[in-house]
């Protein structure tokens, strides 16, 4: 049940995305229409095509066919697109040789954020994530959680309109995971759209306004978490995990889901 909303206030608009690697089809007609200010939970089993989708949506990869617009901009126009998007991939894109402060200063420079504004934001976010005391230590010495938090700060430093997060809480302890989760809510409250890919379904249940389930390169279920749960024939009382397992285990069960 791909989205077909052609609303002008659409943050992410993907139309019939297809992506093939040789004979292997990674994405098979994915369409998305995500309104601004939505937290969109993007679910799917390993190898379903989630990362491929995110790379296409951020302009880092080209679809075999189909089109993507972010905030009304074609993603191939990278110069215009860059200020609007933030992307936190599964592996935090950080430089071990820099300290967190150097890393964030560097990204702020590349984002053309005025130095005073950048300094204030960096201080604020480091404080918010409890990294002030370690801000001058090299990232190579950081724990996974500290790296993830630094990378999260870097992805929101320029206050993007659309934030793409790929497994942002994977491998984090509960406190760090909650911090990230809370921040996702803060970003959304500030009016940004969050595209959240994760396997940790309670996170999606907690923060997502809408959910899309990708299976075998196709969006097989989409809607609010409650809608997906009810459509997945879990009796309306099951969890999102039950719904996820139902819609990704046997396609015959999907007739009442994807086509609704």
């Amino acid at each position: 049940m791909p989205s077909t909303n052609a609303d002008a206030d659409v943050a992410v608009e993907a139309t019939d995305l297809r992506k093939s690697y040789g004979s292997e089809v990674a994405l098979d007609g994915v369409s998305l229409s995500i309104p601004s200010g939505t937290v969109y939970g993007f679910l799917g089993p390993n190898g379903a095509g989630k990362t491929t989708t995110m790379r296409i949506l951020t302009g880092l990869s080209q679809p075999t066919s189909g089109s993507v617009r972010i905030c009304g901009l074609d993603v191939s126009d990278r110069r215009k697109l860059a200020p609007h998007v933030g992307y936190l991939p599964e592996t935090p894109p950080l430089y071990d040789e820099f300290s967190a402060r150097e890393q964030l200063d560097y990204v702020a420079d590349l984002r053309d954020i005025p130095s005073e504004t950048a300094e204030a934001r960096i201080d604020d976010l480091l404080d918010q994530f409890g990294l002030v005391g370690d801000a001058n230590k090299r990232i190579g010495t950081y724990s996974k959680g500290m790296k993830q938090k630094t990378a999260f700060i870097q992805s929101v430093l320029h206050e993007p309109d659309v934030l793409f997060l790929d497994e942002p809480t994977s491998g984090l302890d509960p406190r760090a995971a909650r911090q990230i989760r809370t921040s996702i809510g803060d970003v959304a409250d500030a009016g940004a759209t969050v595209f959240l890919s994760t396997h940790i379904l309670p996170v999606v249940e907690a923060v997502a306004d809408e959910v899309g389930v990708l299976f075998d390169g196709r969006v097989v279920a989409e809607g609010t978490p409650d809608e997906v749960k009810s459509r997945a024939q879990t009796g309306g009382e099951g969890s999102l995990e039950d719904a996820f397992l139902a819609v990704t285990s046997d396609e015959t069960q999907l007739s009442g889901v994807a086509d609704e």
Binding site: K19, Y21, G22, S23, E24, A26, N46, G47, A48, G49, K50, T51, T52, R55, T58, G59, L60, S61, Q62, R78, R79, L81, A82, V85, G86, Y87, P89, P93, L94, Y95, E97, F98, Y106, V107, D109, L110, R111, D112, Q154
Partner: protein, 542 residues
């Protein structure tokens, strides 16, 4: 406007990348020691050559007096462009953390940044020594302006050649991406070419000293006049200045004009490379088409002779993994640097000496392979699997023994077969058997010795080299191995040669010497092996 912004971003990226490189050089003690040794070696040579440079500067009256100036002036830009191409293929074809950088700035800024960082690195490695030489020459010449003019002439040339070298490198990477088969073939061809180049370069200095190289012919054939005229502009304002050359000015204009063109080409190529996926891949990592090469059928079955012991299983596992990822053994290429002089000797040796020389070389090669292939970084290699390996009932000695055994399995056929095969070249059967036996003995000794020194200085840092992510042994360990095992093997082979040719008579002194040699060889090797076992047994994750 966008160009100015891209240049600003590019310079910021360049600065960051260069700082990261500098911090990387100084990140570990062993790297600092390596750099100090390098500085000691090359810095010493440079220091001793400076008086001669000063004297040349004092005596120089004309640029034509600088030997083969025109040829060198042509070789410099070609060399710089080739270096940039090679570096692009090897390292700077992609930017690290591209998901961050490419969603933040325009690809043109990234290209400018990578090239800027590379020029800074080249400037650090080659520019500083050249600047010292140029300053000394300038002091001798008594024309301080030469330093400034050299910089003014060299900078545009370095930019232009690096940009175009980068563009060519990225184009080659794109071609490799589209044609993975060609890539694999060229890897092999490139490796063989590099080995050949190293071997040839070993003889280059000697040929140059002997005057055997047709330099005059090379200079007449290869020199590009306008390039030489352009580089001669560096001498403007000094006694060495050439008469005004319109060709030099045209060359300068061409260099200035070609640089932005090269940047545009490089940006276009790089964008196509960075934003296009491989023909295979996706979230699953490999396609059905690519699955053939990465599939294995059946379970892990160790062949009969090795299946009896756990050490045998370990050895077979190492051999299987080695065959599937031969790039793990790139460190073995170091031997090539020592083969040059030996190769020249073999080529020049008489027909009588050829067989024994090859036989001895075969025994030496087998010994090297037995120790250096699997033994020089045992703990670094095994560490990722230690949580599993050290918690199995298999004793640590079996793990070490497996490594020794794998080296011996690889080295012994070479050490034994090559000497025996040289019987066809006239080596006496007695000599061939003698060399083969010594080779086999040295294989065992070298393999046992290697695991000890390798365990003493493990390297954990993974590096990607030719598509394989692997831990490479420390160069210091490799050199130590070669400096111990090399002379040890040579002593054994020379003694064998004198023995089988009847040049040794049994005396108490000889017996004592032989006994001492065997004692040291066996003792050091066994002690080294025991040390490795102890390191495995007591290993803890820090």
């Amino acid at each position: 406007m966008s160009l100015r912004r891209d240049v600003r971003h590019g310079l910021r990226i360049g600065r960051a990348e260069f700082v990261r490189s500098l911090r990387g050089y100084a990140s570990e003690t062993r790297r600092i020691i390596g750099l100090l040794l390098l500085l000691l070696f090359f810095g010493g040579s440079l220091l001793f050559s400076l008086p001669a440079v000063y004297v040349v500067g004092r005596g120089a009256q004309s640029v034509t007096e600088i030997p083969f100036f025109d040829l060198v002036a042509t070789a410099i830009p070609v060399g710089l462009a080739l270096l940039a191409t090679f570096r692009t293929l090897e390292r700077i074809g992609r930017v690290e953390n591209e998901s961050l950088v490419l969603t933040t700035v325009h690809p043109r800024a990234v290209v400018i940044g990578l090239i800027t960082a590379e020029i800074c690195r080249i400037g650090l490695w080659f520019g500083l020594p050249l600047a010292v030489v140029a300053a000394t020459f300038t002091a001798g010449l008594g024309a301080p302006s030469l330093l400034l003019t050299t910089a003014v002439v060299a900078a545009p040339l370095a930019c232009c050649t690096t940009v175009w070298g980068y563009a060519v490198g990225v184009a080659v990477l794109r071609a490799f991406k589209r044609l993975p088969g060609v890539r694999r073939t060229l890897k092999v061809v490139g490796f063989v070419a590099m080995v050949g180049l190293v071997l040839v370069s070993q003889s280059f200095g000697r040929l140059l000293a002997e005057g055997s190289l047709p330099l005059e012919w090379l200079a007449a054939t290869l020199t590009v006049g306008p390039l030489a005229d352009y580089l001669a502009l560096a001498f403007v304002g000094t006694p060495l200045a050439r008469p005004f050359s319109a060709a030099a000015v045209v060359t300068f204009a061409a260099i200035v004009a070609l640089t932005p063109v090269g940047l545009a080409v490089a940006t276009r190529q790089a964008s196509a490379l960075w934003f296009t996926d491989r023909a295979t891949g996706g979230d699953r990592g490999s396609s059905a088409a690519g699955a053939k090469a990465t599939d294995s059928t059946g379970g892990f079955s160790t062949p009969k002779p090795l299946a009896g012991t756990n050490g045998g299983h370990v050895a077979w596992g190492l051999l299987v993994r080695g065959v599937r990822h031969p790039q793990k053994f790139t460190h073995l290429v170091m031997l090539v640097f020592f083969l040059g002089p030996l190769g020249t000797t073999i080529v020049q040796s008489s027909a009588d000496g050829l067989g024994p020389l090859l036989a001895a070389s075969g025994a030496g090669l087998g010994t090297y392979l037995a120790g250096a292939t699997f033994g020089l970084n045992p703990i670094g290699d095994d560490r990722p699997q230690f949580p599993m390996l050290l918690l199995t009932p298999t004793a640590p000695r079996e793990l070490v023994r497996g490594r020794v055994l794998a080296g011996v399995i690889l080295g012994v056929p070479v050490a034994a077969a090559l000497p025996l095969a040289t019987v066809a070249l006239g080596t006496s059967p007695l000599s061939a058997v003698g060399f083969a036996l010594v080779g086999v003995f040295m294989c065992v000794a070298a393999a046992a010795f290697a695991v000890g020194i390798g365990a003493a200085y493990p390297i954990y840092e993974e590096r990607e080299f030719w598509g394989a992510t692997t831990v490479v042994p420390s160069t210091l360990v490799l050199m130590a191995f070669m400096f111990v095992v090399g002379p040890g093997t040579v002593i054994g082979l020379v003694a064998t040669w004198f023995g089988v040719t009847g040049h040794l008579s049994a005396t108490p002194l000889l017996a004592a010497g032989l006994g001492l040699y065997l004692l040291v060889t066996v003792g050091v090797s066994y002690g080294s092996y025991r040390y490795a076992v102890r390191r495995y047994r007591t290993y803890t994750f820090e």
